[in-house]
């Protein structure tokens, strides 16, 4: 009987010549067992120093700065922020959109690329989904606490009450409530479902009783039987489909908040698309920022290969180009419409003296820096990509600032015009959410399977029954 081959030379011999297939998903593959060890290594290994170095400050921001800023605002009033009249929305909403944006790449990568059968996604999908879940949490927080009377948020849910009153569903904010909640629920259960088989892996590998108990519980009795896989795969496909829809829906709805409003600079049909792409672009930026260090620190270089990173960079470039096109269109339409208010607002985004800095940061990064990604040299230079990733996040943040504040501070009647300057409490809250995000993310990296173990295995040649490595006898095709 043809015993399965496990030694490296044999693999090399049997592996399809490079020109026939893509670059291998995993470099230096040494078989399923080796793969399993490698992928679950970090979750089982002793916590390294660097983890603490990053975790502690993040945890501080999340558990001290964040609650302080939050409670001070809730018990004192929105007045502690920089918001004013006419700029009724400031950093609160800017950060909301920004976080929603960060979330998007995650879903896109794990869902859309799955449907398009991109094997390489299996290695980074899990990390991307985690990013999604945590940043949606942060995003969902803002609408809840930016209101004047946060304790009345429940007015926004259709709870039967003795007032006989209901929410007003014509308001895009109501749509937001639905959208953000849906996004949170769906993305987290998608994330969780993906992890079930891997929980089983960790369960079976676990040596201590406590780990075994926890992972047995989390794996929910997953045995990997053919029947389970059968339903599992189906469910997974469905979820991917729905998540892909989400990618395009959630940010569109956030976009509707603005384009259904009457303010010049908001009132544009392009916004839903604008926000979706902007979100994705921003998300890829964050992916670069997270992946590049982690692959090194978690010793996953040959799982998350440079080519994967490069591909993320390419996607960033594509979405970036679309964004640039949308910028062009916005300015063109503003000029072409002849609407004085539109013209004024867009003119002032770049020449407005008050916020032109933000405007030029936006152009400088989202338009200019993005172009660097055309070059293979850049795409293969991790340091460059890391920096670009950071820049993209800054650029997209300033874009949200320009959209929200830049459109509000000079609207229709000049007598209303004002300025906006965030206060320490605005910034504190933002720092707090950043801290919370990274704290959660690090906990995930430490204790949960950061790579979709079974998925990766599933796309290995050893997993293919018709591949020699899968144990297929010579010339054995389908019977």
């Amino acid at each position: 009987m043809a015993d399965s081959v496990t030694n490296l030379e044999e693999l090399k011999r049997l592996a399809p010549p490079a020109e026939l297939g893509r670059a291998p998903v995993v470099e230096g593959n040494q078989g399923l067992g080796w793969l399993t060890d490698k992928l679950s290594a970090f979750a089982e290994a002793k916590t390294p120093l660097w983890w603490w170095i990053v975790f502690l400050p993040a945890a501080f921001a999340a558990t001290v700065i964040f609650p302080v800023c939050l409670f001070y605002q809730v018990f004192t009033g929105v007045g502690v922020w920089g918001n004013n009249h006419p700029v009724m929305w400031g950093l609160d909403i800017v950060n909301f959109i920004w976080w929603v944006g960060v979330a998007h790449a995650g879903t896109l990568i794990s869902a859309l690329l799955f449907l398009t059968k991109q094997h390489w996604r299996t290695t980074i999908g899990r990390m991307a989904e985690a990013m999604t879940v945590f940043s949606v949490m942060m995003a969902g927080l803002y609408p809840a606490i930016h209101v004047g009377r946060a304790w009345f948020d429940w007015f926004m849910f259709p709870v039967p009450n003795s007032n006989g009153l209901w929410p007003q569903f014509k308001s895009p904010l109501m749509w937001d409530v639905f959208a953000v909640n849906t996004y949170l629920v769906v993305s987290s259960l998608f994330w969780f479902m993906g992890m079930i088989p891997d929980f089983a892996v960790l369960r079976d590998r676990s040596t201590t009783r406590i780990r075994k108990t926890i992972f047995t519980f989390l794996a929910m009795g997953w045995t990997g039987s053919a029947r389970q896989w059968h339903n599992y795969e189906k469910a997974y496909v469905v979820l991917c489909g729905l998540c892909t829809l989400l990618v395009f829906t959630v940010s569109s709805i956030v976009g509707l908040d603005f384009c259904t409003a009457q303010i010049a600079g908001w009132h544009a049909t392009i916004f839903p698309l604008y926000f979706v792409i902007g979100a994705v672009f921003c998300g890829f930026g964050m992916m670069l920022v997270l992946l590049i260090p982690l692959r090194k620190l978690c010793n996953l270089e040959n799982i998350i290969t440079k080519s994967h990173i490069a591909t993320v960079a390419k996607l960033a470039l594509v979405s970036g180009l679309i964004i640039d096109y949308i910028y062009m269109m916005e300015f063109f339409i503003a000029w072409y419409s002849g609407d004085p208010y539109e013209r004024w607002v867009f003119g002032h985004r770049l020449f407005g003296h008050t916020y032109m800095v933000m405007g030029w940061i936006l152009i400088g990064i989202n338009v200019c820096v993005t172009q660097l990604l055309w070059f293979k040299k850049i795409r293969s230079n991790l340091w460059a990509l890391f920096v670009i990733g950071l820049l993209i996040n800054i650029g997209m943040w300033s874009e949200r600032f320009v959209i929200v504040v830049g459109s509000l501070y000079q609207d229709f009647l000049p007598a209303n015009w004002g300025k906006y300057m965030p206060t320490i409490w605005d910034i504190g809250l933002y720092v707090g959410t950043l801290g919370a995000f990274f704290m959660l993310y690090l906990l995930f990296v430490k204790f949960l399977p950061v790579i979709a173990i079974s998925e990766v295995k599933g796309v290995m040649p050893e997993a293919d029954p018709h591949h020699p490595l899968g144990g297929a006898t010579k010339g054995a095709g389908h019977e």
Binding site: W154, S162, G164
Partner: protein, 220 residues
Amino acid sequence: MIFPKWTNSLPLVLLIGAGLAGGGVAAGVTYYLTPKYTRAGYQPVQPVPFSHKIHAGQLGVDCRYCHNGVEKSWFSNLPGASTCMNCHNQVLKDDPRLQIIRDSAANNTPVPWVQVHIVPDYVYFNHSVHVTRGISCVACHGRVDQMDEVREVKSMSMSFCLDCHRDPAANIRPPSKVTDLGWQWSTNAAEAEHLQEVNGKKFVHDWKVESLQSCSACHR
């Protein structure tokens, strides 16, 4: 083995439990987090055991004899002790229970009645317009003429107000009968209901009674 066999039934149990809990929370929110003015049954102890049952019910004193501002003001005033003394300087003139009233009338110290029916400050209810347009006291206060100690019988919640504002015809009656709490269109229940419907519609139409449901009707 970490988890014994019985744990396999756990999920189901949890599911049911969660369902119940969720329902409970929803109910709780619905009741508590809404302005807590659904307080039917509230019956404070009054400084003077004044009985509407005796005065309004048995003696048939008209509500407006004491609450004389009700047709002019948004507020249905309480009578000054002087009003009580109009009769009680003859009747039960030295009943100890009326001591507070006599003192009040004598040296003008107010009687600390405890208010029973309260709406929040941001609600502007106006007695005069309801009473003069044929909405009886009984619609909101119940059969006060049968109560010894006044008790809140209706919820006084916003939806309670809305019920009537959405269908004034169901409660409207001839203005002459507003203080006649027991009054019916007919002794026969079925017929009374029919007449109420017919005449209610007629009044609403003839008197141009508006069914006000917008904020401005009650909130300013």
